[in-house]
Structures are given as C-alpha cells and as structure tokens.
C-alpha cells in the first residue's frame, strides 16, 4: 500500500509541484526528487543537523519534517542561499578560516549560524563565543573540533555589527 500526495511549494524561489509518498522526509524530497544534494543526511534522527534547511524562514531538521507537510511552504537550501549571496560573507569566512574539513556538516552549520547572525543587526550585540557555541551545539562536526567554526562565525558577527575586530 503506498500513499502519495500532490504538493506545491517554493524551493529556492522556484515553484515546485511534487508528487510525494507520505513517508518521505523533506530532506529526501530535496535530495532525491529535486536533486538538491547540498542538504545532507547524517543520522535521520534529528541529532546531527546535517539536513538543516529553512522552512518559512526558520531552520528546521529536514529529516524530522515530511515533504507532504511543506505543501504551500517556502523552503530554502544551501544552494538557494548561495545563489542569492545572502551568506556570501559567512561562506567566505568559513573558507578563509578553514572552518570546514570534509564539508558534510557545512551547509547545515552555515544555515544554523546564519539564523544566529541574522539576529545581529548593524550595531547590535555581537554574540559571545559561548553564545555561538550554544547556538550551533545541535550541529555535529567531526572534523574541526568547532574552534575554527566559532572563529569564523564570530568574525562575521563582528563585521556585520559594523565593528572591526
């Protein structure tokens, strides 16, 4: 017995008409059906954060949401925010600071960090290293030991707040 459903949603600014099995997770839909493979599957139980994407402007675990639930939603992935340039400064900081090694966690890490940074408007309070660590503590990185990631996010926070480090 299979259960399929028609959905319409916006993914990275494109209108998508999908026909999905009820059980299909959002991240599997993005990866398998839309070939947006920048969102990764690391654990499928909501712990590692590699599948992090944005739904209606908020980061969520792509493995803990069903594709069928996204009917009518606005979904953004790493491919989308890369193309718009929204996180270009953050990506640049990650690259310069070598804040990634294998890169598997990076899309989720960037989107999660961006949510914190988007709260740091010009002249706003720059998050402390502990704030940054706490905010990304649901995103698993086995390679870096996190120090470089915290450095990169901190640098962008300072820059966006309009201050020099």
């Amino acid at each position: 017995m299979t259960h399929h459903y028609d959905i319409t949603l916006t993914v990275n600014g494109e209108r998508i008409d999908g026909h999905v099995e009820g059980r299909k997770s959002l991240v599997d839909f993005l990866r398998d059906d839309l070939t947006l493979t920048g969102s990764h599957v690391g654990c499928e139980h909501g712990v590692c954060g590699a599948c992090t994407v944005r739904v209606n402007g908020e980061v969520v675990r792509g493995c803990l949401m069903l594709a069928v639930q996204c009917d009518g939603a606005i979904v953004e992935t790493i491919e989308g925010v890369s193309d718009t340039g929204e996180i270009a400064d953050l990506q640049d900081a990650f690259e310069r600071r070598n804040a990634l090694q294998c890169g598997f966690c990076t899309p989720g890490m960037l989107l999660t960090a961006q949510e914190l940074l988007s709260q740091t408007k010009n002249g706003g309070k720059v998050p402390s290293r502990d704030d940054i660590r706490e905010h990304i503590s649901g995103n698993y990185c086995r390679c870096t030991g996190y120090h470089a990631i915290v450095d990169a996010v901190e640098a962008v926070a300072v820059a966006r707040a309009g201050r020099s480090s």
Binding site: S25, C63, L64
Partner: protein, 282 residues
C-alpha cells in the same frame, strides 16, 4: 532508515482531528512538531497506518494570560514560547527551562503540546507542567475536559490523553510576586536529555516556603514529585529534604548513570534549586 509507509491526513480543526482519530483507530498517530515522533518513525520503532497532522489547525499556537492562568496553545512552538514576553513575565519557570531544550532547529518545530503529550520522563516541559500544577485541556469525542497535572502522567509515555483524544492547551497558574521558581538539570551535553533534572515552584511566606512542588525528571517512568522532600523543604529543613529524596525517588540504572548516581545528583540539584528559590524572585 526510512519510515514504514503511512497515510497522511491534515486535520483542519480540533474536531476534525478527533474525528480522524476515531475513524482510523489504533493505527493513527497525531503529528504536532514531530521532533520526537519523526525520529521514532525513521527508526521504524513505530509504524502508524496514518499520521494526522495538526499543524494546519489555526489558533492553537496562542500564548495568553486569562483569569490568572497562562494559557499556551498546544501548537505553540518552543521558539515562540522562549521568545515570549508573556512567558518570561507570567511563567518564568518555563522561561528558565526553555534554553535547556534541544537546539534552535528543534525548538523552531517542536511544540509545547507535543512535549507534554509525549510525556518523555527525561524531558523538561512535562516536569515544569507538574511543578506548576498546570492543567491540560484535552479534546475528545465527548468534547473538552481539563485534567490537573497530578492526574495527567500515568506511566511511561502514558497520560490522561485517551486514544481518541488530543491535547489542545496547557494552562499554568500565572506567577504572582510571592511565587518562587527553581530549575536545574544535569545533562552531559547542552540540549541533551537530562541525567536528572528538577523543576520546582513554591510560595514564599516570609523567609520560608509553602506549597512546595518539586518535579524531578530523568528518574522514573514519568516526571516524579518528591513529596517528602517538598514537606521537609516547606518546614525549612533542606538537609532533611535532601535525605527524604531517598524515599521519594527510586531511579533505575540507565545507559547514562546508575540509579545511585542519579539519586545523589537529585540531592545536589535540590540544594541548587532551593538556593534559587530562597533568593529573589527568579
């Protein structure tokens, strides 16, 4: 692992959800934030025949103070509650607990109703609900009813919510100037389920505390009230209260720690929480 196949139905209203539950029977499960349910489905630990998605039901995510009670709609997301001035002002215990719950992406989806209804014995919100002596508003085929926190938790993942029922809101007594709250938990990593945690409320009466409610989590099949310790604390004897935990709590060994360690940690938490409550209003 991928979930076993299931049908998906979107409830348009509370009545619709209850009707769908009745129609699909035992094989149906309600889907709120999904942050626990989806993980269990992805591990094939459960295989419902139909998921009834509550997320489209309008008006269930409100946070308001009415008649001295803080009314939190079942679909209010953790992130919204965490950012709510109403919660900070009128339900400070919830505000204290919120940063300990998982991580931002989980809090963006997870719901208050889902947490309380799932009743994970190691989770923060069910214990807060118990510590605050809250009320659960439950809709069923016969209409709505209200169940007090002391009668709500019935066993491991078992609550007063029946198979054809849905939790629609929780209500918590709004904080008054004489109320004192305390919250502490010990988890190995930030955002993990606690080894042991304690949510507490009491009424200050001069230098002493009255109506003490101590709700432990991570120590049993449900959140557990430490009633002998509550009485000892109300009589002003902290040492006695810590000692009383030996009879109040009987945590089993689990993969995190032994029952003996949990018991010891429960005593440490009680001293910390008591210090919080004896200080200025939390």
């Amino acid at each position: 692992m991928k979930p076993a196949p299931f049908a998906y139905a979107k409830a348009r209203s509370v009545e619709d959800a209850v009707k769908l539950l009745g129609k699909h029977g035992d094989g149906a499960k309600l889907l709120a934030g999904g942050q626990s349910l989806m993980a269990t489905l992805n591990m094939r630990l459960s295989a419902p025949s139909v998921l009834i998605d509550l997320n489209g039901i309008a008006g269930l995510d409100t946070i308001a103070v009415k008649d001295g009670m803080v009314d939190i709609g079942a679909l209010a997301r953790h992130a919204a509650v965490m950012g709510s001035d109403t919660i900070a002002q009128h339900a400070p215990l919830i505000a204290m607990a919120m940063p300990h719950i998982a991580h931002p992406a989980i809090r963006n989806r997870g719901t208050i109703g889902g947490s309380v209804a799932f009743a994970d014995p190691a989770a923060e919100l069910p214990a807060c609900f118990l510590a605050l002596n809250g009320e659960a508003e439950i809709a069923g085929p016969g209409g709505k009813r209200v169940v007090g926190a002391d009668d709500f938790f019935q066993g491991l993942y078992e609550t007063a919510i029946g198979p054809n029922d849905m939790l629609t809101a929780i209500r918590l007594p709004a904080a008054t100037p004489d109320m004192r709250y305390g919250f502490a938990e010990l988890s190995r990593r930030h955002g993990d389920y606690a080894i042991v945690g304690l949510a507490a409320s009491a009424r200050a009466d001069g230098a002493s505390l009255k109506d003490v409610r101590l709700a432990y989590f991570g120590v049993g099949l449900t959140p557990v009230r430490a009633k002998a310790a509550e009485a000892a604390l109300a009589s002003g004897n902290l040492d006695e209260a810590v000692k009383a935990l030996a009879t109040d709590l009987d945590p089993s060994d689990d993969i995190q720690e032994t029952g003996a360690v949990k018991k010891h940690l429960a005593g440490v938490l009680l001293r910390r929480v008591a210090a919080q409550m004896s200080g200025a209003r939390a």
